[in-house]
Chain length 377, copies 2
DNA sequence: CTGAAAGCGCTTACAG
DNA sequence: CTGAAAGCGCTTACAG
């Protein structure tokens, strides 16, 4: 014990000496943490000839309210720490201090473009605000979500953004987040219980699309709905009906087409879709992602129908390529950047709050017009 | 102190009693971790009337080589733990045990499809293998990468997959990963130093595309190259030249077109591209992502050139929508699933190894043929 | 088979 | 302004 400590101290000293001479070269070597030989706060304190309290204060600024240290000593300690290549042990720090600087987030690794846009913005915003984002990736697996929840709690992460609750098992997800002090959902969760969320205004944006189509004199619109019973799909269906009622235009529930797997973005699904709905002689289609749009145009053409002359198309997801298509596609833009801003604002504001109040926020979206709805735009 | 401990013990007991009666209801309430009142291993041990060692053994199976415990007692402890809603504190566990069950990964939040496909597979595979994936998300920021490296080291994560080294600053990234015992890059890093990597065989797959185009009698091929000096771009340029030499077909270096921002996937960039290369009268284009393909077809058409009659197109990124386009697009498939498998295999095998050997693995890709190259496919 | 004790690397009251 | 000491929640030799 004694011997080992001495040895380590000796090697530290040798190291310090060499550092002053061949600083760069040695630091590179040192970084390759020799097992169990990593530099700790104690090592730094010893090398600097101060107490661990002092080192802690100098390096991480903590040290309680009373611990103080002179500017000069502080700089000295910092220099030593850098020379030694000291890296704080995060586990020890968090175990000792319980500070809340990590925001957890769970998201599907194959999420839709909207979600990955939101995620990208959230990442940026949390970093700028000085928080760390710990991302739990999974795909369509309730067990994976559970294990992330356990992990987050095990790391004492109390603020968690959930972007993964739109599945067959969607109603099982929200309850898992009850143990957290500060959970926040992106899009309204599908449960009776109340949870804070920031959501695209699916209803409002869809309504804009409907009004636009009606203004173009389209009268037989097909809405290709996801078959998950998610709030977004339900909000859109509601907007579909509301719009018809408001305009006094009759419709058939069959115009809300529920595909087998949400997005009709394969040849098979789109073929099936068209077989089912073309007998209704639709003059407009509201569909999901970019691929669905590609298939729709291709297959409509192959059946002698032109876009937009015979059928208008509006996509429910904005994507960079929509304007490159021929014809360019009208799409709904859910404003991911604003959603991310609101989400980060809410969750960060909540962190110090004992029991955060309920937040239910809808972010307004817009329509990006392309050539897929009418000739002249 | 004494009083507080007693109080906590009392509430635990009350709790245990109520649990037996109203189990479900109470567990739900308990989960909402009352600040600082979270259930610890000691609480469980106390409630079960055993030592912390025994509890640790029963709940996490560790407990060194010698610590043993009877089956009956073990089950009892587990039951108590579950009733109390015990969740192990991961920080304490890792601090005490130093076990290596987390794999770190750094990736761009706006990475290309290939990378997000690989990521999705890696996530699945690491989970199946019993490891946890800790994902560091960032976008085009060397500082963010640095801070993730610090974090990982701070969490004593020694196995890290880097998918974020294709930037302006690409040669600055690999050195950051030297401190890790077990780093692995996806795609070959752009540094003189050797690092283990698993990479798509960009050269081989590109060569397949070239050979195919030559077999269709295309003679003036434009390769739209990313302007980052990344190994993939260079490997492709090499394949471009090799193919010409092998076939005895003359070419001009200007046929390797270096766009301003890598992907020519906007109206402006593609317009500029066409202005620059059309005077060469190309009969084939090898371009990046899906959007670039969309723009290429649209803009070529607007200049009176048809795909594939006048110009063949091959995309360098396979995407679900490529077959939905009109014409459907020939694309290179880099085999993300296999890349992920290799990466996970290598990194997991390395975990117990003291100084892992160098791995340099190239995964073969293939061509997915569409209508964009020639009439009859 | 079991438990008391040391230790992981930090932070932070507390006493000087 | 400074340092010795207790503690965060675990794991694991070690001694019974």
């Amino acid at each position: 014990m004694e011997a080992e400590g001495g040895e380590k101290f000796f090697s530290l000293m040798t190291h310090l000496l060499s550092v002053t001479i061949f600083q760069n070269a040695v630091i590179l070597n040192k970084n390759r943490s020799e097992d169990n030989n990593m530099i700790t706060l104690s090592d730094v304190a010893k090398a600097a000839g101060v107490s661990r309290s002092a080192a802690s204060k100098a390096l991480h600024g903590g040290g309680g309210k009373t611990t103080k240290i002179s500017e000069k000593k502080s700089l000295h300690i910092q220099k030593i720490a850098e020379q030694l290549g000291y890296r704080p042990n995060r586990m020890a720090q968090r175990l000792a201090s319980r500070k809340q600087d990590i925001i957890g987030l769970i998201v599907d690794s194959q999420c839709c473009r909207l979600y990955s846009d939101i995620l990208s913005c959230i990442e940026q915003l949390t970093r700028e605000a000085g928080y760390r984002l710990q991302v739990g990736l999974m795909h369509d697996s309730i067990d994976a979500i559970k294990s992330y929840v356990d992990d987050f709690l095990g790391y004492d992460i109390q603020s968690v953004i959930c972007m993964a609750h739109y599945y067959e098992f969607s109603e099982k997800v929200p309850p898992l987040f009850k143990p957290f002090k500060n959970p926040l959902f992106i899009s309204q969760p599908a449960t009776d219980e109340k949870f804070s969320f920031v959501s695209p205004d699916y209803h409002g944006t869809f309504r804009k699309a409907m009004d636009y189509l009606f203004s173009l004199n389209r009268r037989k619109i097909i809405y290709v709905k996801s078959n998950y019973r998610t709030p977004d799909a339900m909000a859109r269906a509601r907007a579909f009906r509301d719009a018809h009622l408001a305009h006094g235009i009759p419709f058939d529930e069959a115009q809300i087409y529920c595909g087998d797997i949400g997005e009709c973005d394969t040849l098979e699904l789109m073929t099936e879709l068209l077989d089912d709905v073309l007998p209704m002689r639709p003059d407009a289609l509201i569909i999901g992602n970019g691929n669905a749009t590609l298939w729709a145009i291709r297959l409509l053409n192959s059946r002698g129908l032109r876009v937009p002359e015979d059928v208008s198309i509006i996509g429910m997801e904005s994507w960079k390529g929509s304007q490159a298509m021929q014809p360019s596609i009208s799409v709904m833009d859910n404003n991911p950047a604003e959603i991310a801003r609101e989400a980060v604002r809410v969750i960060i504001n909540n962190i110090p709050v004992e029991s955060p109040p309920l937040h239910e926020i809808f972010v307004e979206g817009s329509l990006i017009l392309g050539e897929s709805c009418c000739h002249k735009v």
